[in-house]
């Protein structure tokens, strides 16, 4: 696996969806290539940051009541 390949599949590697062989090939590459390893860390940090900052917004309490009312009214 080359640096060019890593750039193309790094997000899927972080998702853990590349399959065992490819995940393992990429891990080997990262351990030997500081530049790709640095990029991976940047991707990881940006993703963690994004998830943290855009964490779940709960539905307002009145929404559930509103939904229940409208569903029952619709059924009638």
């Amino acid at each position: 696996m080359h640096c060019h390949d890593v750039k193309r599949v790094i997000y899927f590697f972080l998702d853990g969806t590349l399959g065992d062989q490819r995940q393992s090939d990429l891990r080997d590459h990262l351990s030997a290539c500081p530049e790709c390893e640095a990029r991976k860390v940047v991707h990881q940090r940006l993703r963690e940051f994004f998830r943290k900052r855009l964490g779940p917004v709960s539905a307002p309490p009145h929404l559930k009541q509103r939904l229940t009312r409208s569903l029952r009214a619709f059924a009638e």
């Binding site: 390949d5 193309r8 599949v9 997000y11 899927f12 998702d15 969806t17 590349l18 399959g19 065992d20 062989q21 490819r22 530049e35 640095a38 990029r39 860390v41 940047v42 991707h43 940090r45 940006l46 993703r47 940051f49 994004f50 998830r51 900052r53 855009l54 964490g55 779940p56 917004v57 709960s58 539905a59 307002p60 929404l63 559930k64 509103r66 939904l67 229940t68 409208s70 569903l71 029952r72 619709f74 059924a75 009638e76």
Partner: protein
Amino acid sequence: MKSAQAYEHEQGWDFEKAAMPYVDSLYNTAYRMTRNSEDAEDLVQETYLKAYKYYDKFEEGTNFKAWLFKIMKNTFINNYRKKKLTPHKIDFSEIEESYERVIQKNAPDLIKDPESEIFQDMMDEDVKRALDSLPHDYKMVVLLADIEGFSYKEIAEILDCPVGTVMSRLYRGRKMLERTLLDYARKYGYIRGEAEPAKMRSRKDEDKTRRKKEPGTEDDEVQEPEENEEEVLFSDDEDLELELDDEEQQEEFSVE
């Protein structure tokens, strides 16, 4: 007219029991897509009423949460199209090239600090604006994958597109998002980089970088047309070729 008791013994009660646990998830995505709580509530309500109406079409044993999201996605698109808003114009190759330049210059600095203070100091409003700057179809894929935790296959089901298309949009959406976040980091002087902003953000947006965005405005459109621009609005024009382990994904992701 049915009494409350009759309702409880019929389909409505089953539906409510099955659907209510997903209110928060649906609302969260609706809120991110519509960008305000009032529209988000309306979208969720419309979704629930449609889902109830077509509840008998739901196939037992399939993913109910994904089915609800699919209805919400379709409702969102219909409402969005009614407004006849202009789709985003983006030049992904330009975004990717500038991303490469920034990341190559800054990757070593970005990983020095274990707590990534560079990003922690960024304002919530900037993070929201970075997300909102994505074309809607990329934004939705990123939200479904990275916030709601749906698998590629579930997202493909929700969006009615091949898994390869989901992966392509994820790749591009995540890259655009990172590019914009890095752009903010550069603006505040946290990192080095070229002066040119990401192409997907408009000049108008650049002029009022620090001004609060009004709900419902579309100031992240790019005005100028270019030869290699891509018009994006829930389209399937994907052209990435990634090597994947899964044969099915491999085939679908190599869409021309």
